[in-house]
Amino acid sequence: MTPDLAPHEAPQEAMLAELDALRRILATAQKPDAPANDDGLVVMRLYPELGLDEWEALCRRQDLRDWLALPLSANPLPFLTRIQATLRELTFLSEHDPLTKLDNREAFERVLTAELSRSARIGQSLALVIFEIDDFNLINADHKPSCSDHALESVAALLLAEKRTFDHAARLGGEKFALLLPSVGLVRSQLLVERILAAARSLSISCDCGNAPIHVTLSAGLACTKGKMATTREKLFALADDSLRRAKEEGKDRFVAAPIADLTGPPEKTLVRADEKRFLFTGLTKG
């Protein structure tokens, strides 16, 4: 729980133990079924020897971000600023991946929903690409965790560098990433994906194990809507995911594009069918 504590930090052990005990009690304590909105208590405890710096160090180490500290007599501004910064940090963390700082899956899905409805409203293309680092489990097995992190960060940096300002890049989780490209159809998104795959091949990622630099390749699945036919986030995701699966099956380090759903749907009812044409040419209704 509290590894590598320096001797002068030992007195704080007692405080941490106390907080920990309180947490457990509060978690199991019986609460009213429907608490009134203005119900709630601030639980206080005076620590005469604790300063802001020590408290911040404790917060970082012990995940005490939801605990507040206020001085009794000194200027409260540094403490309030600290709280403000924590709030900002929590907001950022709720929408971003802490390692790569890209959008996280939840934030990305929100953007995708909005972009899909915009695409359908104005009849504009939208492309979704899902990337996966090939054989990431081998990197994990052969290297320190920090090396795997370097690989993830490098791929994230690559996506950020290649995307346009209004594209969205995200880490979906694990070694999976995504790009959302508004107003881009299949042809142009394929060019971009090819460029990203080529750039990934030439990445040279530093290795903390003292070995040679790590090299990676990416597989990608591409799905595109022309905005003509309403689709859902789930459907577009499933199309891109399926294409990614095929790219991996076909040998990795490549991309596969799903057929454009708008163009493979049922024919327009205005279509002049073959039997109608035949009739106009020959006067016969049967071929």
Binding site: K269, V272, E276, K277, F279, L280, F281, T285
Partner: protein
């Protein structure tokens, strides 16, 4: 009793074809001329936006055209040219302006607001629409009182005009089409071509189009085109001119039969909605 929307019972006639090169512009021009000669006031509007040609057939070089109407200071009167004094006017379109092919609702609204102020002065508004099934062609055809489809006995002309009919029927719910068969050898040719198209409409779409008439192939026509005068003036007794006269008479009857109903219809209807 409220004021009628269209007191003069002006009839708007969209002339379209699907396929290009079937003689649509020449028919629009000569039908207009024939109606004018029968003492009707006619405005011929070149709506073949993008590839306009009526001005060439008339030997006119207009200074302004349809596109100028988008400028707020230009009025419809400034754009129109008299073809013949006393009630045959022409409204030219622009050539080589592809944007006009896919006019959006706002552009059509600006255009028709300006035009509506002058349209009521005519008995006939003849709209020469371009080939193809662009959104502009379709919506103007849907906004007009009647639609005249120019077809020829060629199979490709039949399928192209059938495509226009099917799109207008399924997207705008329109079921009345007047068929004008051009470049025929005989009345039998007219009837055979019309029957083929009519039976297809009946069989696949469930309604009958109306036969407006046939116009024979005539060497006098290319001659009139070269001289840049309407055939009806160049060779009024030629077979094609006689046929066109017959069609004009039928068109006149269509208007006569609808005089009362037309009073309560705007010359060009509202911008149609269609389900996508």
């Amino acid at each position: 009793m409220s004021q009628p929307i269209n007191p003069n019972s002006s009839l708007s006639v969209a002339i379209l074809s699907g396929k290009g090169g079937v003689g649509k512009t020449n028919l629009a021009l000569n039908l207009s001329y024939a109606l004018f000669r029968a003492s009707h006031r006619v405005l011929l509007m070149d709506f073949d936006v993008g590839l306009a040609n009526v001005d060439v057939l008339l030997g006119l070089s207009p200074e302004k055209n349809l596109q100028d109407l988008f400028r707020s200071e230009v009025t419809a009167d400034e754009v129109m040219l008299p073809v013949e004094a006393g009630g045959f006017d022409f409204l030219p379109a622009a050539s080589g302006v592809p944007e006009l092919l896919e006019m959006d609702d706002d552009m059509r609204e600006i255009l028709f607001q300006k035009l509506n102020s002058v349209l009521g002065a005519y008995d006939y508004l003849m709209l020469d629409l371009g080939a193809g099934i662009s959104q502009t062609v379709l919506s103007v055809a849907a906004m007009s009182h009647i639609r005249v489809l120019v077809v020829t006995p060629e199979p490709t002309s039949l399928t192209d005009s059938y495509a226009v009919i099917k799109v207008l029927h399924t997207q705008y719910g329109i079921s009345d089409f007047h068929i004008l068969v051009n470049q025929v050898d005989s009345p039998a040719d007219t009837q055979a071509t019309f029957n083929r198209l009519a039976t297809a409409c009946q069989h696949f779409l469930g309604f009958d189009p109306i036969l407006l008439g046939g116009v024979r192939t005539d060497p006098a026509l290319p001659d009139a085109v070269r001289r840049q005068v309407p055939l009806m003036r160049h060779a009024p007794r030629s077979p094609a001119a006689q046929d066109i006269l017959g069609v004009a008479v039928k068109l006149h009857r269509v208007r006569q039969n609808r005089l009362e109903a037309l009073q309560n219809m705007p010359v060009l209807g509202n911008i149609p909605e269609f389900d996508k």
